[in-house]
Amino acid sequence: MKRREFLKNSALASGAFLIPAFLKPLEGIASEQISGYKHLVIIQLSGGNDGLNTIVPFGNDIYYQKRTSIAINPADVIKLNDMQGLNPNLSALKEIYDQGWMNIINSVGYPNPDRSHFRSMDIWQTASDSNQFLTTGWIGRYLDSNCQNGNKNPYTAIEVDDTLSLAMKGASMKGIAVQDPNKLYQTTREPFFKDLVHEHDNEHLSEDNLGYLYKTMIETYSSADYIQKTSKTYTVSAEYPATPLGNQLKTVSKFINSGLQTRIYYVSLSGFDTHVAQQNQQGRQLKIYGDAVAAFVKDLNQTGKLDDTLVMTFSEFGRRVEQNASNGTDHGTANNVFVFGGKLKKAGIFNDAPNLTQLDNGDLKYQVDFRDVYATLLDKWLDVNNKLILDKNFKGLDFI
């Protein structure tokens, strides 16, 4: 890995020194296109994933005392150090972890946590304070700031889904939802639709709402064309599990490897609200997650894109430390966040395992503000000052 990185960097550096003429025609292209276009892939786990049964604190007796019937047996835990280990359903991620491609950040949350799904999801997606209501998402605001620098393409951020999440909506710019590039393309090529687009193509669009609707329509039309034409040039050869998440990540791989000029991808997996009979339900979902992510990371490594890709996984909250009476867990607060990539500055477990004795009403206290995670991604990966997006400045972390 290191050797490959060295070769790549030095090749570029020498190229720049020795043959400046070669670079001349490329001046119009942003430098990142030469050095590799950086991608951020966000995977949202909806419903409040139980972080304690995901990254299991098997070294802490309190965990077993509080979870008499749903704790993961120490023998089954895939141990990462002498305190924490992976849920056995995440076995596929062990290899990824061992390669130094995975980072686990414990106890991520925010002050005055909200235990309602929709409110907490709103807070994570808009990056707001817990008593603040924002109508734009944090990625949307990144698009807004990008737009001021002249990038007005909706496909800068793609959600592989049928509908667009609030996270992806900015004030003037929005990402685009694409479940299937062919389907989107077909839809925009219906004859009547085409007529409307072409008749308005060259007209000066007004600033009013009708102009806005036509603008959105025309952008969708051209984005659909670009995404379909670009992505069809690449066929994913790696094997992916036949699950919806597996297919979505396979689509992301296709997009990345075909050279689509997209910086952010967003996918979600739901089914984590495990109030009842948690073990089987969460186990199924974790297996879907771990298998799909492992396939994705290995695929990107094969194609040489892992160094240019960062994957971040979050859920709107974790769950209570103590299990409930129906072999499940109820809504909690702080949770773990996972980061994957080929170029992590810090791999492995980022910070201490959650403290199970100092609780806030039976819930974990957060140690890391989720906006410090976002700030890190914004500052160090997307090259934008996080204050522009998060309203106030966050210090960030040093995992990349």
Binding site: H117, F118, F133, K169, A177, F193, L196, H200, T216, M217
Partner: protein, 459 residues
């Protein structure tokens, strides 16, 4: 300006759009008489009563696994029934203005509850007072179990005040940000201590939990209770201005004109917060019919769907499809994104929601497959997690039945295709639409195309 255009505008904003059968009568009435008719049709107030049982959620907490699963499913069924009952009401009622205003208050007093019985109760409060007095409405909402629960007033006790309700009351329901202090919130939270409800859903003031000490709120001192706080807030003209601004954005234009908003606020305040005089003023004042205020507002997803239903008399063999549409378009009734409600306007539109708006009409009117799935609401996760085999609605038939005969019968024979196009769309026709209208094979093809245009998204 031609009378039909005015009346179309009135119905687009005060209702869910003018339909062909109303066109004839519309042309013979003056706009003033038409406004009278509109209010008259909304005099009836019929509550929704589809949710009959108040499920005991204590059972859910203490019951065994099977009982819990059943309760979750029953709860979901009730939520679905309630949503569809309201969609059906809006799609068929003559009391358009009452329902359109109920929808406004539904968003103004945005609330979520997993108890459909309480959600229905709150919805009926909003319907009852939709055209009544704002003070009555605000009081009834503040005493409703749905809102007391949603904004944690059940946990607001003497000595341990919970400020959630007090804060939203000021920030979102009455006076707006910047017009109160943190001290006002603290003091008013104390005034609302003890407001709660019993297990039958009856409002109760619990004297032992109520803080009856002295409070100072917006310059007034005394042993103030919740009603005193509400009265004090309504004494402030700013409250009338705040509500008027929001109504202006709902009925007139996305971009508020401060002078016009002031005019309305003046009427509202002087009418002692009666809603009807405010609405009458808006619908009769000349600037409501200014060019810049016509055909330029983006329909909410619910208005869009209801408008289609009303124009084409659509019946759904599988009414759940209306929920799928709401999800795909980004507005599920009773599921506002947060206590601030749906932001509306251009926020409704992104690439995918716009594509669905273009697609849905032909799916419904021309028999089609649903080939997309809206996102699950975060609150549905518990239900999803309890279902081992999740069924997806993708590639199921819409199974909707428009009444084409009735529709076509009501289109006057004398109308040209361009006339039809101008009737169906609120903005002025562009050359493209006029051309397309002229070239379309028949009226049926024409109207399906018309309702699949950007212009149709506006009202």
């Amino acid at each position: 300006m031609d009378n039909l255009k005015l009346i179309k505008h009135l119905y687009a904003r005060a209702g869910f759009g003018l339909c062909f059968p109303d066109k004839k009568s519309a042309e013979h009435l003056s706009i003033r008489k038409e406004i009278k008719e509109l209010f008259k049709a909304s005099e009836t107030n019929e509550p929704l009563n589809v949710v009959q049982e108040n499920i005991d959620y204590m059972k859910l907490l203490t019951g065994d696994m099977l009982a819990k699963k059943q309760a979750i499913q029953q709860q979901r069924q009730q939520e679905k029934d309630l949503n569809l009952a309201w969609m059906n009401r809006m799609s068929t009622t003559d009391a358009q203005l009452r329902e359109k205003m109920t929808l406004f208050w539904h968003n103004h007093f945005a609330c979520r509850t997993n108890n459909a019985f309480y959600a229905q109760q709150l919805n009926n409060i909003q319907r009852t007072y939709a055209l009544g007095n704002f003070r009555d409405l605000l009081l009834a909402v503040s005493k409703s179990p749905a809102m007391l629960q949603f904004l944690n007033n059940q946990q607001n006790h003497k000595g341990h005040p919970n400020e959630n309700f007090a804060r939203e009351l000021m920030e979102l329901f009455t006076i707006g940000r910047g017009n109160y202090t943190e001290q006002d919130i603290k003091e008013s939270a104390r005034a609302f201590t003890g407001w709660g409800f019993d297990k039958n859903g009856e409002f109760k003031v619990r004297p032992f939990q109520h803080d009856d000490g002295e409070k100072t709120f917006m310059g007034k001192t005394g042993n103030l209770n919740g009603e005193d706080i509400i009265n004090r807030l309504l004494e402030q003209k700013q409250t009338a201005a705040f509500i008027s601004n929001k109504l202006y954005k709902y009925l007139v234009n996305d971009i508020p004109d401060p002078a016009r908003v002031n005019e309305i606020a003046e009427v509202f305040y002087n009418a002692n917060y009666e809603i009807k005089p405010l609405l009458e003023y808006v619908f009769t004042v000349d600037w409501f019919y200014d060019d810049k205020n016509m055909g330029n507002m983006i329909k909410s997803p619910v208005s869009f769907l209801v408008g289609l239903n009303r124009q084409f008399y659509i019946t759904y063999q599988r009414p759940e499809v209306l929920l799928e549409f709401q999800r795909a378009l980004g507005q599920v009734l009773f599921y506002p994104p947060n206590v601030a409600g749906w932001p509306g306007g251009r926020n409704w539109i992104d690439s995918s929601s716009l594509m669905y708006r273009f697609k849905i009409p032909s799916m419904v009117l021309d028999g089609g497959l649903i080939d997309f799935a809206g996102k699950t609401d975060p609150e549905d996760e518990a239900y999803l997690a309890s279902m081992r085999n999740r069924q997806s609605a993708i590639n199921t038939k819409v199974q909707a039945q428009p009444d084409w005969d009735k529709f076509l019968q009501n289109v006057p024979k004398s109308l040209s295709k361009t006339d039809i196009a101008q009737f169906m769309l609120e903005p002025n026709l562009s050359a493209t639409i006029e051309n397309a209208a002229g070239q379309s094979a028949d009226i049926k093809t024409l109207v399906i195309e018309l309702v699949s245009t950007p212009e149709y998204q506006l009202c």
